[in-house]
Symmetry: C2
Subunit: 121 residues, 2 copies
């Protein structure tokens, strides 16, 4: 029997990665890209960094403050962003915190520890 090639994952059952206190990342991995659902509590700051991966994101809840070399950008629900590879950026949340969905191309293999497990049942 051929295994089912479609996989379903339970994000809520992930052991989140916590790169900074107040920031939790839960992941889903494909061959060519990975998704992270990122929860940022008010006051938590992901400091300026860069990576070769392209990053596409959508804000799901709250306000993300995305900082780039040209300043701060407040991004809310129904808004999205693209950060090209190797472009410096930092992130923090508005007053109520935020939830964003980030896509990385290629997949961020170093985040696999926070991969969501396959759904059971």
């Amino acid at each position: 029997m051929t295994p089912d090639p479609v996989q379903i994952y339970a994000l809520a059952d992930s052991s989140p990665m916590v790169p900074i206190p107040g920031i939790e990342m839960r992941g889903v991995f494909g061959r060519g890209a990975s998704i992270n659902v990122v929860t940022i509590e008010a006051g938590a700051i992901l400091p300026m960094h860069r990576h070769p991966h392209e990053q596409l994101g959508v804000v799901l809840e709250g306000i993300l403050i995305l900082t780039t070399e040209d300043g701060d950008h407040e991004i809310g629900p129904d808004e999205a962003y693209v950060v090209p590879g190797n472009v410096e950026h930092a992130g923090t949340a508005g007053e109520g915190g935020c939830v964003v969905l980030d896509v990385f191309v290629p997949a961020r293999d170093e985040y696999r520890e926070a991969a969501a497990p396959p759904r059971t049942g």
Copy 2:
């Protein structure tokens, strides 16, 4: 002056693509991948299809019923799926409709007509 390499998009201002009545897709495009926020009303059916693009998705609201050769999978909020390239699948929603976020690798260029415009102001 170098243009800001980070782009911000207003998904709500997209002209959605409507592949089937009751299904609306709004897009964000990077170089290596694209995102579609897909709204499926109850009763709308995206019929069986396949594409070479890998597809990763997260259910944001409601229940997605993802059909593959091995049957129907009901997928809810906080759950995610990966459909490898060229694997047949179909989609419909549970009773209240659903909203899902799909990632395609490489980008689905044929969906660019529904790309979200850059945010103004």
